[in-house]
Each structure stands twice: as C-alpha cells, then as structure tokens.
Subunit: 398 residues, 2 copies
C-alpha cells in the first residue's frame, strides 16, 4: 500500500492559497503580544475559511447567497469559489429551481466527498481504533488493531494510518490523533504515562513517516471538539470523558482551553470533598478518578448485591462529580456538562445526581440553567474530534 | 464644570481611523460563526493597535524599529505614525544618539500625557472612588464621595465623573467603571443585588449623560485586567477579590473569560467541602464567601483570643480557598492565583495554606508549579483595571 491516493490530490500544504490554520493561528491575545500583523494573504486565507465554514454549517447555496452571508463582494466570492473548486474543496451541485424571473442559480457546496480525513483514537483499553471520515465527520471505513507493546506503538500507528489512507479512495486532508496524556500545541506528548511517553514528538514522527499533515491532541480535548461541531454543544461546555481514567475537555466562548502547561482538563486527580474517599492508584485518597473511572465503578458495582445498592453507588459517583465540578461551573459559567463513556454507568442516576449536586452547590442565579447530558457521539467521539482537528487546522472550519 | 476639555480633543469615536476594539471584537470563534469578513479597514485598525500596543509595552523606539517589531513596511509605518501623531496618541520624543554612520533616528512613543482616562470603582464598602489616570495607568487625581442611597447612585456617579473629567486637563479617552454584579458585554448590569440593579444599562446611562465613551465591567474582571497589564500576571491567571463578598476574574491564554451568562468568576457561593461550614447570608451553608469574606473573617478573628487561634482561623480560610480552587486549577491549568483584598488578612498564613491545599489536591505534575500571591496593585486595582478596559476598548491596547 502507499499514500499515492493522497499525494495525487491537491495538497493543502503545497497550495499557494494555503488557508490560515485557525485551530492554532487565532490566539489573539498572544498574537498581538507577539506582534502579529494583518497581511493581505491573511485576509484571503480568512475569507477562504469563511466560505468553507459557511458551507459546512449551512449547506448548499448560490454564489450570491454566499456573498450575502459572508458580506464579501460578488466578484471576490466568484474568485474564491473558482479557487476552491480548482482545489477540490467546493463543487457545483446543479441549479436551483428559479422562484422568480431571471436565470436559475447554480448551487455551490462543500465537496464533502472530495477529500477524506483519517482519525486515530489511542484511548481504547486494549486496541487502536482508526477510521476514514468524510468532511462531514461520517465514518466510511474503520479498522481496529490490538494495542501493541509500547515500543511498537508508533510503527503500529503508522501501519494503521497507511491502511486507512489506502481505504480512503480520495485525497486525504490529514490525520488526526486523540491520545491520553498532556499534549502541547505542536503535537508533542509532554506526558502520557500509559505509553511511557515524555516529551515525545508524536506529530513529527507520524508526519515524517506518512508524508501527510498530522494533528495530535489529548483525547478529551478532541472529544469536546466533536461535541461542539457535530453534537450541538453550547459555546461554554465541559466534556467529561470517563474510561480507564477521567479527563475533560473545555470550550469557553467556543474556544478550546489549553492551560498554562497544556494540561487544561486534567481533573481526574483533583481531590473531591473533605471526608476521605476511595484509595486512588496515584497514591492519594478521594480523587475524582477513584470515584468515577470505569474500573472503579465496575468493581464497586460487582461487589453490590441489591439493585438499590447499585443505584446508591452510581448516585454517590454522580454526587462526587457534581462536587468536583461546582467550582468550575462557578468560575467559568459553563452552561453544559456533557458526559462521554459507558451509558449504562453514566446516564440515569449518576447524571441526575451530578446535576442536582451542581445546582445545590452553586449560586441559583445564574447557574440554575446548567445542564448535564450524555453525548450522542458514542464511542466514535474521539475519532470524530480528530477529524475536527484536521478540518480546523487545514481548512479553518470548526 | 463641563466636558469641553475632552470634547475639544480628537474623539476616537468620530475618527475615520477608529481602531478595532480588541476588547470585544476579537472573539474569533464567534466571529467566524457569525460570519466576520476581513476588510482593509480592519487590517488598518489592527495595525494601528499593533503600533500602540508595541509602544505601550516596549517604550520609545524609532520608526525603523517599529517597522521591524511589527513586520510592517517602513512606508506603512510612516503613514500610521503620522496618523497617530495627528490624533494625539503618539509623539516624537527627540533623536537617539547615532551609534554608527547615518542620520540619528527620531524616537517615537505613546503620548502618555496626551490623553487621560477616568476610572470609577463601585466596589468600596461605603464610598464611590474615582480617579484620573494616564495611559500608563498612573493615578494623577483622585476623588472619593460617600456611597449615596441606591436611587441617587447614577446621578452621583455622573457628578463624580464630570469632576474628574474637569480634573483631567487633557482629552479624556473614556470612562471605565468596575462594579459588583454580573455585567454583560454591552455594560448592562444583569444583576447587582447591592444596588438593586437588574437589567440596567449603566453604560448607556453614563454615556448619555457624559457624552464620552464608557465601559462598564464586573469589579473582579476589571481587577484581573489591571493585574495582567500592570502587575505582570501570567497568561492563565485567576484573581480572587476578597471584600464584602468574594468574586474572581479569570484570564485564559491572556483572554478574559466571560461565561455563558457573563457570570464567569462567580465563585463566592460555591459550597466548599463536604463537612458543613459557616452559615452564609445566601441561606446555604459553607459557601466560599462565608469562609473568606472580610466581614466573616473579621468577626471570627474578633472572637478569637489567642494569636494561635487567630492564625488557625486564617489557615482554615486559606484551606477552604484551596479546596474551592483545586478543581479550577485542574480544569483550566492556571499557573497563578492572585489575591486582592486586605493584606493583613490574605497574605501570610491564609495564602500559604491555600497554596499547600492546592498542591495537595491536584495532580503533582503539571500543577506543582502553581503560585499563590498577593497583588501589588493595592486598593487601586479596580481603578487601574477600569483604565485597561478603556485602553483596550478605545485603542486596542491591553
């Protein structure tokens, strides 16, 4: 197999009209402090992203509609659309029935089948999961391989990614990877104890091996992007990912929170309450993870005999989640907590108790409207989030 | 008295080269979703702010240095500087000694005395405090009036602002106000129980009466801006303001956090711990405010006889602050907690215990580097933050 499919298509990275990578370039505070000027090519990249973003969210429309929606002139729009058609990102979809006099309008849309994205999820318990996704985030092919020993992890990922690129049958826009651990904004794994990585440039290693754009992020940070782009999440949302560990991804005003050391969202080892709690693997007592992780919950549930005991265990875990999150809801005024993980554990009593606890422990007004709900993205949430990273990084669409 | 001083100067709001109001305009996620295009005048406003921002932070330099720092061409820079000199925001400061061959360079700087800013602080216990500030945030005049009954508050503020404008002896760039309560991004007070305000357009009322740009924000949100601009705060910082109540202001990646209902920072009525606590005025038990507010601390200290008891009271309050903030440090990976309020209460045992508790209740790596410190801005922090709001809103400087 080879990556020839991908390389025969127009490469975004080599294109003279390379779009601004909004996922990273738009950190206005830092940009200003570092002295970012606005050049004509920035405006062009921004406007190109704006067209793609509009089509991504609103679907097919005429060039005239696009001009109206974006505020750009018809001439500018005509040039931009021609360029995007030549690059294979936009296609003409046929004419719309004319509703009045005049020529019927040609509809333009994102060419959702013109490119593919490869997503890889390293957060599984015992397997690596990969998928080929359309620009819509639909999964069109999927592969799963057993988790190898740590020393073979990168070569196994490279093989998996190559197989998925071969499955793609269209140019591949890029490869997104969601992984446990703390990941910096260059895709360097600062720490991922599960895999023994510390300061490892996973993004660079994969890019070098695959010859395609690669974007690597923490799995929960990827997941919250999927929830925002495909799950209708609010602009201020915290996604709690419950698996072997407990992590979270956070958006404020629709922007991903990174943190001062790229460790935003690391709530698994925050101590909950002032009355002790279960022993945590980290050595402390009463960490959120010790209350809420899948292994912790399943072992406590297995020891419970009566259904009422089982419900009590889930309610206790939900209460602890609410106790841990109340200060975060207060400080950030998030409007929504989204839970990702086994629904048989998280939905029902656990989510109900988390909400009741959040309401009891924050100021009624303005926080009484806060919601707690399960994601509808299921087990594909990290894969779809990885696709959003590529859409955002390569096309400026989010 | 009149506002003629201010109105005789160049009004930013009427200038054809009005800069982008970075404090509000730059919310990239929302901007994209709402379809913001980049126009030439945006680039011009951005570059104008960039020049002001560079001079604000780095001080006097030549046009050639400015061009190099900002990446703009010398021709563009020359035009921009001419425009900014004409508007009274930039001045020539004299030539620098030539270090080599060639013409000695004329130094350019922000005209720090060319304009004044008026700041008003409504967070005092029993007075309204106002000041005239330079563009540097230095206070050059100050007035204080007793807090009137609620019905007279706006007219008292207007009188105070007019007196300060008269004190200014230079064009007034704008008026910044820091107030307790939840304030939206248009300066409407959504709720401020102390003053009986709910849905009150304070910004509009003051602008109408004063004929000058007015910017209103929550007092703790103003304070964190002062700490960021003048106090050397990190990009990811939480400022806790302790007075009659307890509030906070939060920056992530140097950007102010607003929250889904503009209530970010409202941590005073978050319940702390799971072992009860003092009764709070809100009706709940164990709110952070019931542990930490100045009235709560002073009344408990007054009842203590031995110095050891007093230290114990302060340590307990610091521990509660650490318990409340640990999940926030985990979720946001802030690197610094700054305390604002009476140093005789907050510095020493209280701050020490807060730090020790934070460290004990979060993941050692990456959070062991988190700091807790007192602000050096003293009681002027809200006034200086109000000035930053005006600098940011009117000049794009932060």
């Amino acid at each position: 197999m080879s990556t020839s499919d991908a390389q025969s298509g127009p490469s975004i990275l080599e294109s003279p009209s390379k779009p601004v990578a909004h996922g990273r370039a738009f950190a206005p505070g830092r940009t200003l402090r570092q002295g970012g000027k606005v050049l004509p090519e920035h405006a062009r990249g921004h406007n190109r992203s704006l067209v793609l973003q509009t089509l991504f969210h609103q679907g097919a429309m005429s060039r005239a509609d696009l001009a109206r929606e974006t505020g750009l002139t018809r001439v500018t729009m005509s040039d931009l659309v021609a360029e995007l058609i030549a690059d294979g990102f936009v296609a003409e979809m046929g004419v719309r029935e004319a509703s009045g006099p005049g020529k019927p309008a040609m509809l333009i849309d994102l060419d959702r089948d013109g490119h593919r994205i490869v997503g890889i999820d390293l957060s599984g318990n015992d397997s690596l999961i990969g998928a080929v996704l359309t620009l819509d985030g639909s999964i069109v092919a999927r592969r799963e391989v057993p988790l190898p020993v740590a020393a073979d992890l990168v070569s196994t990922m490279v093989d998996l990614a190559r197989a998925l690129v071969a499955d793609s049958h269209a140019p591949v826009l890029g490869i997104g990877v969601g992984t446990p651990g703390v990941v910096d904004d260059r895709g360097v794994i600062l720490t991922a104890p599960n895999f023994g990585w510390a300061g490892f440039d996973l993004e660079g290693a994969l890019r070098g091996a695959l010859g395609l754009p690669v974007l690597v992020a923490n799995d929960a940070n990827a997941a919250v992007l999927a929830e925002y782009t495909f799950g209708g999440a609010a602009d201020d949302v915290l996604l709690v990912k419950v698996g072997r560990g407990v992590g979270s991804g956070l958006l404020a005003s629709g922007q991903p929170m990174r943190g001062s050391r790229f460790a935003a969202g690391e709530i698994g080892h925050v101590t909950v309450g002032t009355d002790g709690g279960p022993q945590c693997a980290c050595g402390k007592v009463g960490c959120l993870e010790a209350w809420l992780s899948v292994p912790a919950l399943t072992s406590r549930l297995a020891a419970a005999s009566a259904p009422a005991d089982r419900e009590g265990i889930l309610r206790d875990a939900g209460e602890r989640l609410g106790i841990a999150l109340a200060p975060v809801v207060g400080a950030l005024d998030v409007s929504e907590i989204v839970l990702s993980g086994p629904p048989e554990l998280l939905s029902g009593p656990l989510a109900e108790e988390a909400l009741a606890t959040l309401r009891a422990r924050t100021l009624a007004q303005p926080h009484e409207g806060v919601r707690v709900r399960m994601t509808q993205q299921g087990d594909d949430i990290v894969l779809r989030g990885a696709a959003v990273m590529v859409l955002s990084g390569q096309l400026g669409v989010s």
